[in-house]
């Protein structure tokens, strides 16, 4: 098998992280804002009130600016699996390629075809046809997210496949198992609802700016009511789906859960850290306390992860070095079995080529006995199985803390908007405005937890990133990394400037 240099892997990961983080600056707003404009247009069609049409068109204009750059940054994501992760593309492409292709056919065509009607069809098609198109854009965008997250969920928790030693790849054997993968379901619900929350923050943030400037008062107040209601409902759902996600992580990715909580030594009745400062001199295996200080809710992690207040939650140490009492195998043991599987597969291929069927059969038996650990066979040392704890811990706590704050904010904004006091509460308006960038921080933090938290795996327990990368020169990836960085940054600056200018022009001036 082919393993690659550290430098190549680092640059390949950096490029994927860069393009994914940029892409995700734009997607959640599209996911949510498409629904918000669809709701506003529905009010217009139901009431016939032209004011709602104008409001819909304003938010739609901002959506278009965001949608375009979302598409631009998105096309690279699909092709990067081939350009930068070509081994991955072969080893799991038989399963992973299907949801991507279905996304293109079922969702992306719908989203982009009806996008043209939504923006340019106001005077060309009937009101009902236009409204249908707007809803189809919203549904198409979210369907698109569904298939991408089915693919991502499979990377976190691979199911519905078997390894075929003749083709040396994993092959799908149950499409519905892949589709209804519990990880994918909870990931989809959690991710799209986070998009709805971000879009709500966007609408209330922009509206707060108008109220602070004493402009577009009626427009801003009505927009706040729609967005706060939507935001409150979806925040509650976000909380529930987050709980489900954490439960899945505990069952399927215990190392990620341990890193999320900075839990080095496993505990029964483990608590959740509300706030904590990690000791960055802590090394796996030493006796130092992992935190300088921490505030903890007792028993909460046991309950969250295993739905039992007294459950044992394994720590990083248990997962790396094993824990006999709780029947946890060490990474070293898994590596040993994994290496046996890798060697047996190689022998099997060799004997097959030599037409030595007896030897090939024997090699196959050894392979099948150890195949479940094959991914571990590519690790260099047991500690390689540990993700970056600080990055995972702080990202997770940033996401959860901000998500909680958003819920509180929506309750306040909805309450004061309903009693028609919102424009007098300037402190709240400032908070609404300042919270908007935090929405983006929470989004990115969420993906860092999901992706950095499962390192070193490209596919959980099956394929480490070191085996998954394309065999190209690291300088080639370095060149494209910087080209992406320059291009995407330039486009981001343009997007922000255009967006600010359109907001400044307002619903009367812009459209």
């Amino acid at each position: 098998m082919m393993e690659h240099s550290e430098l190549l892997i680092d640059w390949s990961r950096a490029q994927f992280a860069l393009t994914a983080l940029y892409h995700w600056l734009f997607v959640p707003l599209t996911l949510g804002l498409t629904f918000i404009v669809a709701i506003m247009e529905t009010i217009y069609v139901k009431t016939g009130d032209e004011w709602w049409k104008k409001t819909t068109k304003f938010w739609m204009g901002l959506l278009a600016i965001n949608f375009a750059i979302g598409l631009a940054t998105g096309i690279i994501m699909e092709f990067e699996f081939g350009t930068n992760w070509s081994n991955y593309s072969w080893i799991v492409g038989d399963i992973f390629g299907a949801p991507l292709a279905i996304e293109g056919l079922m969702a992306f065509f719908m989203e982009s075809t009806f996008f043209a009607v939504m923006f340019f069809g106001w005077n060309k098609v009937s009101k009902k046809m236009h409204l249908t198109s707007t809803w189809l854009v919203a549904i198409g965008s979210n369907l698109s997210a569904l298939w991408i997250l089915v693919a991502n969920g499979w990377m976190q928790h691979p199911v519905g496949m078997h390894f075929n030693p003749d083709t040396a790849r994993n092959e799908m054997e149950d499409f519905w198992a892949v589709f209804f993968n519990p990880n994918a379901v909870s990931k989809f619900l959690h991710t799209v609802s986070s998009g709805y929350v971000l879009a709500s923050l966007f609408v209330i943030g922009v509206s707060a700016w108008y109220l602070l400037k004493k402009r577009e008062v009626l427009f801003a107040k009505r927009s706040i009511i729609v967005a706060s209601s939507f935001g409150l409902l979806t925040s509650l759902f976000l909380l529930t789906s987050g709980d489900e996600s954490a439960f899945n992580v505990a069952q399927q990715q215990p190392m990620k859960l341990a890193a999320m909580e900075g839990l080095y030594k496993g505990e029964e009745r483990a608590g959740i850290i509300v706030i904590g400062l990690l000791d960055n001199t802590k090394v796996l295996g030493d006796e130092k306390a992992p935190f300088h200080f921490k505030v903890e809710i007792p028993n909460a992690l046991s309950f969250l992860g295993y739905h039992s207040l007294s459950a044992f939650v394994p720590g990083i140490h248990d997962l790396v070095y094993g824990n006999e009492k709780h029947e946890i195998m060490s990474v070293a043991q898994k590596m040993e079995k994994g290496k046996l599987a890798v060697e047996a597969l190689s022998d099997y291929k060799k004997y097959k080529k030599e037409n030595n069927s007896q030897k090939a059969k024997e090699a196959l038996v050894i392979f099948e006995q150890n195949q479940a650990y094959m991914g571990y066979g590519y690790l260099q040392k047991p500690e390689d199985a540990v993700p970056n704890v600080a990055l995972t811990f702080y990202s997770f706590h940033t996401m959860v803390g901000l998500g909680t704050w958003f819920l509180v904010l929506f309750i306040m904004t909805l309450y004061f908007a309903m009693i028609n006091e919102i424009e007098k509460k300037r402190w709240l308006l400032r908070l609404m405005l300042m919270t908007l960038p935090l929405g983006y921080v929470a989004q990115e933090a969420g993906w860092i937890v999901a992706e950095a938290g499962r390192q070193p795996w490209a596919i959980q327990d099956l394929l480490p990133v070191g085996m998954a990368a394309s065999n190209v020169a690291s300088t080639s990836v370095m060149i494209t990394f910087w080209l992406f960085a320059i291009l995407f940054t330039g486009l981001l600056i343009a997007e922000i400037k255009i967006m600010f200018t359109q907001i400044n022009l307002g619903p009367k001036g812009g459209h």
Partner: protein
């Protein structure tokens, strides 16, 4: 579900779908071709706005088809996806850069305070239309001329040249294929404007531009197809799967499958008739003849690579690493699932057709663009 259908049938079916997507993409490249004609056909700012807005209602079609093309290859022929994208790294990256810049250029071009100015975005549209299509042509041409890759016993691959695909630019056939595709996209772009716009000044420039690009296209098309038919190709043995070089392999494929020869001839005839209809009869519906002719011809030229035991992606570094539809495909189960999903294709065509019709009931004029506050 597919008990009477063999894996080879599914592989052929999916090679046909991939070829059809290739044909459809080339037709949809009228958008890219149109973008390269912004300053050739539009001499005033109003005319250029009209051109951009006419294309702006359709631009997502080629973009989406390209994404679909990539997805279909990933799902149906993952080894090809892995070998080509991971190996010809710089060619594919250059293509992707050309397409990243398209969507924002439409949306941001005329927005106030757009940071770079409208000329910058127009330049990006030109790059997308010219370099993007040319490079896609070069990448497709390597299906006939081959790539410098090796595949090991675990089906993992590496490229043997440090130029990672850029060496394809040294082949005259690949270059001619790229320029031919570019000229075809410009023909389709011109014919789209002829059909879609209501502006007599632009119309006057359309026929001359069409004539120039038709001459370039026809000359290159004859040469490229001649080379394809008579140059060496790559055959594999049905039983042993050993790949060997065969002279005039593509011609042999056409002779073995006369129906493909017929569809190619039909495509070329429709294309030529469409050009005649536009140039001599001044008929504005010529886009449909040239468009359908393009889909038939390109689909056939790609599909013929996958039949009659042909290696559709030959390796120049190691002949036995060459890819065939049999050694690079997804599993039986995945191809079956994807085949069920592909039944949705007519539904997608249906709503695209419906949207196109309802949005293009009347021809677009400068007045219409000016009166639409949402215009690009």
């Amino acid at each position: 579900m597919f008990d009477s259908i063999t894996l080879y049938h599914l592989e052929l079916y999916w090679w046909f779908i991939v070829s059809l997507l290739g044909g459809l993409f080339v037709f949809m490249s009228f958008i890219q071709g149109g973008q390269t004609l912004l300053y050739t056909l539009g001499k005033t700012e109003d005319e250029r706005d009209l051109i951009i807005n006419s294309l702006g209602r359709k631009w997502e079609l080629s973009f989406t088809t390209l994404v679909m093309f990539g997805g279909a290859i990933f799902a149906a022929f993952p080894l090809f996806y892995s070998v080509s994208f991971g190996g010809a790294y710089f060619v594919w990256m250059a293509i992707l850069f050309c397409f990243i810049i398209q969507a924002v250029s439409y949306e941001y071009r005329k927005k106030p305070n757009n940071f770079f100015g409208h000329r910058f975005y127009e330049t990006l549209l030109f790059i997308n239309g010219s370099l993007g299509i040319f490079l896609i042509g070069v990448a497709l041409a390597t299906l006939y001329t081959g790539g410098n890759f090796m595949v090991n016993e675990m089906n993992l691959s590496h490229w043997t040249k440090s130029s990672y695909g850029l060496e394809a630019l040294l082949s005259p056939f690949n270059l001619a294929f790229g320029v031919m595709l570019l000229a075809l996209s410009r023909i389709l772009g011109v014919l789209y404007f002829y059909n879609n716009l209501d502006e007599e000044h632009i119309e006057l420039r359309i026929l001359q531009t069409l004539k120039n690009n038709s001459l370039i296209f026809l000359a290159l098309f004859l040469w490229v197809v001649g080379m394809m038919l008579f140059q060496e190709g790559y055959n594999y043995d049905e039983m042993t799967k050993v790949v060997n070089v065969e002279s005039m392999k593509i011609l042999h494929n056409f002779l073995a499958y006369p129906i493909l020869m017929l569809t190619l001839l039909m495509g070329v005839s429709m294309l030529l008739y469409g050009l005649y209809r536009a140039l001599n009869q001044k008929q504005k519906d010529a886009i449909w003849y040239v468009g359908i002719g393009t889909i038939l011809a390109i689909t056939t030229l790609l599909f013929v690579l996958g039949v009659n035991h042909t290696a559709f992606y030959p390796s120049l570094a190691d002949l036995q690493s060459s890819l065939t539809i049999e050694n690079s495909s997804g599993s039986y189960y995945t191809l079956s699932v994807m085949s069920v999903v592909s039944l949705l294709v007519p539904v997608v065509f249906g709503y695209i057709f419906m949207v196109w019709r309802s949005m293009d009931k009347t021809k677009m004029s400068i007045d219409e663009v000016k009166s639409d506050p949402h215009h690009y």
